[in-house]
């Protein structure tokens, strides 16, 4: 399997192998063309170098990794949208009748808020890729997490301080030796080279 994953939020086209990938979409190129064509693709290699595309190669002799897609196909979305709209229309009618019967109940603001919540909950999401590893649970691959290095170091420093709290070194011996060294002449020579 020769999977490529679009790691960006934009559509990427690889002209030389005639492939277009939507945001976060993954495809198995082995199902679409010969492996040698995928490996030779200049556009694919360029996108990989720029970090826009990730390549995952899993051959049969290695651990199997399956990739499944949840495709938000347009047809399904349209029918879902129409079902939800019908349901909303019905609910709105009921609410309107209720408001007529009991004017001390829902306010106009409450009503707007409810409708807004329903709309937010039903907005179609972008295409998602779910990686399923054999023998393991599934891992969603649709979120990129980047941690600033300095932040990670600070977090670790605090974590270690917490870990060693209430511990005590009772005794710790090191094998020690003192040796002559040319290290300082190395330092001078290197400093000159690097300046």
């Amino acid at each position: 399997m020769f999977f490529i994953v679009n790691k960006t939020n934009q559509t990427i086209t690889l002209g030389d192998i005639k492939i277009t990938l939507g945001p976060r979409q993954a495809v198995d190129l082995d199902r679409m063309m010969e492996r040698r064509l995928s490996e030779k693709s200049v556009h694919l290699q360029a996108a990989k170098r720029r970090g826009h595309i990730e390549i995952r190669i899993k051959d049969e002799d290695k651990k199997v990794e399956k990739v499944a897609y949840i495709e938000s196909s347009k047809g399904n979305l349209d029918s879902l949208k129409s079902d939800i709209l019908n349901e909303l229309k019905g609910s709105l009618k009921d609410l309107k009748d209720d408001l007529k019967r009991d004017s001390g109940g829902l306010t106009k603001e409450d009503f707007t808020q409810i409708v807004q919540s329903v709309i937010e909950a039903t907005v179609p999401r972008e295409k998602e890729t779910i990686i399923i590893k054999e023998g393991a649970g599934f891992v969603r691959d649709d979120v990129e997490v980047e941690i600033n290095e300095d932040v990670a170091i600070d977090i670790n420093a605090r974590a270690v301080t917490k870990i060693v709290k209430d511990t005590e070194i009772k005794s710790m011996h090191y094998k020690e030796e003192e040796l002559e060294s040319s290290i300082l002449s190395n330092v001078d020579e290197l400093s000159d080279l690097l300046d």
Partner: protein
Amino acid sequence: MASRAVGQDCGTMFFQTAENLSDGTIKFKEIRNSFVALEKTEEIEQALSQNNWQYVVDGKNYFIIGEDSMRVSRMFPGKVNLRRPMQSGILNKGEEKKMLVMAKMIESSIGSSPDDKSIVCTCVSSDPVDDAVDNTFHKARLEGMFKRLGWYVKVIEEGHAVILSERPVFTDKDGKEIPYSGIGISLGAGKTNCVLAYRGLPVLGMSCARGGDWIDKKVSDQTDTSISQVTNIKETKLDFNNIDYDNDILFALDAYYSNMLEYVFKNFAKRFSKVKSQFEAPIDIVLAGGTSMPNGFVDKVKKIIGGLELPFEIKEVRRSDDPRNSVVKGCLTQAIISQKRL
């Protein structure tokens, strides 16, 4: 107190530090990077004190660290497990007490930084060619452990440290000598690290998940001998100039050393070809690390690479005069240089 510059190598087998003293000598400290845990009781505390064993105590357990952990695990085989904070060149993800033990080793070996100009330089493996584990998390954890003690931290690649301490020289076409240019290889217990450098700067680095531990495991599997026995024979009897081929363990050690070296050089050659580095004259290779210690190792390397097609010419293959301390010395060199620039 004066500012300090310290080199540190957190190896899979040994934890080492190096510091320059005012008389020009270097002080090395070394401790075996292993431990055992024992439940906290009065009797055990008494035994620990009587034997003058090295240990750390928390609310529930004693953690016996270094050489003493080997002694304790040999005394209670099957009851006490020898544990290691590091595995395959990074913090051992399967060991829940790794951070505690490592933090205590750092605290007891170099202590807190005396001021904001003091620096520690440590090293990590280069990008791996054969496993998916990268160093990002390991590096951040290691840096965090030094930073909490107030140290300014510099991190370099392990193979680069070999270059800085061993000073390979490249002679260009016009006969001009360029120091700190060549290939530095650190053959450790967990990994083998290679760096190609030019004028002291790393050009290309890679690491392989094959080292001394890999050889020991393979030989142990093939000869049905315990890993500790294999390690012992490797450290005391292995001589590549004089292999007793009737001895299964020595024969297997010779075979797996060859296999590992071929694997390392083939992978390095691949990386070298990819970056299209231009070295128009032969390059020096310097070897260091505990796995390079057996007699005849340099000749073995020459023989192996003689049979390979490499994308570069080799001028000389040599081993460091002090292979065990080479990496930590390189880290100290970098620490002193970086301190001058603070």
